[in-house]
């Protein structure tokens, strides 16, 4: 079947079974490799994307479910968070960074001045093994208005 959706602002389509994981369609068919597979179980958040403004694990989404929807991946993100992550040392190996940025982005859209605890809760679905989360939280708080 053909699934049509918006990816980072442009119309795209995918062929093949609608039950395929959105993660695989993004990485393989559409060659958007910024979204990563860390576990395939919805535990690590490395595959996070936005669907209609909500952060979800793309390894848990069947591509048929995004028909007509707005999908945003790291490639489509433009946010002061990105520079903040570089400056504060919030990205080390970088593999969790795309998912982490998208989850943080959504937090800041909903909550203009989150507390450190709010940030921890919003990022609890994004595992990081390198940073201890400290500088990630600093970077996100630095972008709060």
């Amino acid at each position: 079947m053909t699934v049509r959706f918006t990816l980072n602002g442009r119309e795209v389509s995918s062929e093949g079974s609608g039950a395929r994981r959105l993660l695989d369609v993004l990485r393989e068919d559409l060659r958007q490799t910024g979204t990563k597979e860390g576990c395939g179980e919805g535990e690590c958040g490395a595959c996070s994307v936005l669907i209609d403004g909500e952060v979800v694990d793309s390894c848990l989404v069947a591509v048929g479910q995004v028909e007509g929807r707005r999908v945003v991946t790291i490639e489509g993100l433009q946010s002061p968070l990105q520079q903040a992550f570089i400056e504060h040392g919030a990205a080390q190996c970088g593999i969790c960074t795309p998912g982490m940025l998208l989850a943080a982005h959504v937090l800041l859209l909903r909550t203009r001045r989150p507390s450190a605890d709010d940030v921890r809760e919003a990022l609890a679905g994004n595992l990081c093994r390198c940073t201890g989360y400290t500088k990630i939280i600093e970077a996100v708080l630095s972008c709060a208005i």
Binding site: I86, G89, C96, R129
Partner: protein, 714 residues
């Protein structure tokens, strides 16, 4: 000119990582590549009776590789060369998940279908899982200092003697990017015929290069290993990638096309190396005033089914076993044994977290017995300038023991005690040290080399096999070179970690990258500067620098005496915990770590190493449990192997103490592993402070804590 060193300049690879442009192994597009899969043993011990490729599947659609297809040696070359690339039909199996066959196909469903049509039969044998029943010993180490401790006891040198036993558990490195490699055979007629290029997620290109040559019978030039952007390593990608690379290469060779061998998380958890678990026993003798008289220590580590890096892990465990303390009479007996479990390997700390866990808790127990504060006892015992370690190494400079202790105590906020019957709060402290660089004569044997080129366009290129795995290698090397050359950092480039381009700087392990290799980068840059200034150099100009062992460092491998490491770095960790008395759950709420790093080349990167390493230590102490059943890990998915989330992580505050080391670049010492050593004993001490119970084991799971609390109540 504003210098780069000492400033937190933007990291080199930052932009690509925050935009999704960074390309990790599985992101790479390789036209025509097939997918590979490893078929593994389902028994822990025995022999392979038969391997059957069943009917009902068209085997011409796939490529199958067995041990018979290995052109070189059926060995994953490392130290002992005991680990096969693939187990053979009629041959031995020593652990579950041991690789037997490899399959490659054009797509994943064909691959899965093929795997379903493979039947392997075994003659099972009785496996050994308990370290105390293990018959095979990989290696033993004995370290002695002073008088024989065997004869020492109460009334015979000491006034109080305390014995205690500690247990440390397995731990998975849990790099968020799983293992993977892509092997590309040289095309016929391309001039690269017979070559094999492997691109992979790895820490040590030249380890993989050596292993690839041996198994595939390739020359130095034919084997090419390239590190792709790597999503975390922590030691888990020190030696294991050699296995992945050889497997991918064998498939690519037989298929005559590139093959991608990328592990999924389940396979990675089930089959790859873990931190060595073990048992450490202490018998410590003191005077009533706390004077340390003797330490008698016994260490047993479980190496798993093959040797891998076990002798070196045991070495580091043994050398750090006394803790950062000056003791006149020491005996350390360490052995590593074989069990029929998947082989254990490198993980940040590399034996030191295990033995330091025990050493630090012994300080607490002795202090408690004597009625002294454990902080005061540490001040009494700690190694200071001029003291000698257990191996007889005299510490002649940069001893940060008391500096970090004072700094941590000063920084720790006022302790907030318990606020109710269900949650009890406590605070614990630990003091640790960690040798930077390879043990003993390791650096001398490695003779790591760095090259630097001054190019015609006014830029400079650093050529090194040291890899960027998140810790900031590329950034600090550019800082060091920029300052040595007297240029701005934007004129520095780092060549790809490609064995056909860069010299062997040694592996990216052992807290050596900044201190040992960084120093070589600095030296190379200084020489380039000098030659450019002399006007004698024509561009491009290339300079190479190799590690030279200082004359003052002496190490005797046979007696295990002398200068075990060029220098030690020091850390003091203070942990605050909240224990739920109804569930035994331990929440680490606050962590303060003071680290003597010699010199912080890049403060943000240094803090990043400390914060990240500390949280891994917190995880090991609390929730990272691996249960074994019949030789398999039961925690083989991310739903069951748990690492701290942002909600679990404590607030971590880092204090960098700069206490320069004369041979480090700008005085820097290696600190990559050190942060891992402190949290576990500090947390156990904090749990005791909160609840009155002592645990002797990590992880201090809620089950163990609750049982201890209940035991105390009844």
């Amino acid at each position: 000119m504003v210098t780069a060193v000492g400033h937190s300049v933007p990291r080199r690879d930052g932009a690509s990582k925050v935009t999704g442009e960074a390309r990790y192994t599985d992101d790479l597009v390789v036209p025509g590549a097939w997918y590979g899969k490893t078929v593994r043993s389902t028994v822990a011990r025995g022999t392979i009776k038969s391997i059957e490729l069943k009917a009902g599947f068209d085997w011409s659609r796939v490529v199958v590789v067995t041990a018979d297809d290995i052109p070189g040696e059926n060995v994953v070359h490392l130290i002992r060369d005991d680990q096969p690339v693939l187990a053979r039909s009629g041959g031995e199996i020593r652990h579950k998940e041991e690789p037997i066959l490899l399959v490659a196909a054009a797509d994943r469903s064909t691959l899965e279908e093929a795997a379903e049509h493979i039947r392997i039969e075994y003659v099972a044998a009785k496996p050994v899982f308990d370290i105390h029943e293990a018959a095979e010993v990989y290696t033993t180490i004995e370290i002695r200092k002073g008088e024989a401790v065997e004869g020492m006891d109460v009334g015979k040198g000491a006034e109080v003697v305390i014995s205690r036993s500690f247990r440390v558990g397995l731990q998975e490195q849990l790099y968020i990017e799983p293992q993977g490699a892509i092997a590309i055979p040289g095309e016929a007629g391309s001039g690269k015929e017979g070559s094999m290029t492997v691109i992979g997620s790895l820490q040590c290109p030249y380890y993989v290069h050596r292993a690839l040559k041996r198994a595939l019978r390739l020359s130095d030039e034919q084997a090419v290993v390239i590190q792709a952007e790597t999503g975390g390593g922590f030691g888990g990608k020190e030696e294991y990638p050699s296995m992945v690379a050889i497997h991918a290469a064998l498939l690519a060779r037989k298929a005559g096309r590139p093959v991608r061998l990328i592990y999924d998380r389940h396979e990675d958890l089930a089959a790859t190396t873990k931190r060595h678990p073990g048992v450490i026993r202490h018998r410590t003798g003191v005077k009533k005033d706390g004077t340390l008289v003797f330490q008698d220590i016994d260490i047993v580590l479980d190496g798993g089914a093959y040797c891998t890096l076990t002798p070196v892990v045991l070495s580091r465990a043994a050398i750090h076993a006394t803790g950062p303390y000056a003791c006149p009479n020491v005996r350390i007996r360490a052995r590593a044994v074989a069990t029929n479990t998947p082989p254990n390997g490198a993980f940040r700390g590399f034996g030191a977290p295990q033995s330091l866990f025990a050493a630090e808790l012994m300080v607490e127990h002795v202090a408690e017995r004597l009625g002294m504060s454990s902080v005061d006892l540490r001040r009494k015992w700690m190694l200071r300038l001029g003291d000698t370690t257990a191996t007889g190494q005299k510490l002649t400079e940069s001893v940060g023991s008391e500096l970090v202790l004072d700094a941590a105590l000063k920084a720790a906020s006022t302790f907030q005690p318990s606020n109710g019957p269900t949650v009890c709060r406590g605070r614990g402290l630990s003091l640790v040290f960690h040798g930077s660089g390879f043990t003993g004569s390791g650096e001398k044997k490695l003779s790591g080399t760095v090259a630097m080129e001054a190019l015609a366009d006014g830029t400079f290129q650093i050529l090194t096999a040291s890899t960027e795995i998140g810790q900031g290698t590329k950034t600090i090397f550019c800082q060091l070179a920029a300052d040595a050359l007297g240029v701005t950092i934007d004129r520095l480039r780092v060549a790809p970690q490609d064995t056909s381009i860069v010299p062997d700087s040694g592996p990216t392990v052992a807290s050596r990258t900044a201190m040992i290799v960084g120093r070589l980068v600095q030296e190379a840059a200084l020489e380039i500067k000098e030659r450019l200034e002399n006007g004698t150099a024509a561009l491009p100009l290339r300079v190479e620098k190799s590690y030279m062992q200082p004359d003052s460092l002496h190490w005797d491998e046979t007696t295990y005496r002398g200068d075990a490491y060029p220098i030690y770095a020091w850390a003091c960790t203070i942990a605050d915990v909240a224990v739920d008395m109804n569930t035994g759950a331990v929440s680490v709420t606050d962590l303060v770590i003071a680290v003597d790093c010699g010199k912080a080349l890049h403060p943000v990167l240094a803090e990043g190493q400390i914060e990240g390493g500390a949280l891994q230590g917190v995880g090991w102490a609390t929730i990272e449990e691996i249960k074994m059943k019949d030789g398999s890990y039961q925690n083989d998915r991310l739903a069951t192997y748990l690492i701290p989330t942002a909600l679990d992580a404590p607030r971590i505050r880092t204090i960098l103490v700069e206490n320069p080391y004369s041979r480090g670049p700008f005085g820097a010492k290696g600190i990559g592993e050190l942060p891992m050593d402190g949290p576990a004993p500090a947390i156990i001490a904090a749990i005791h402070d909160a609840t009155g119970v002592w645990l002797d084991e990590v992880p201090a799971t809620p089950e163990r804590v609750l049982a201890a609390i209940s035991g105390k109540r009844s």
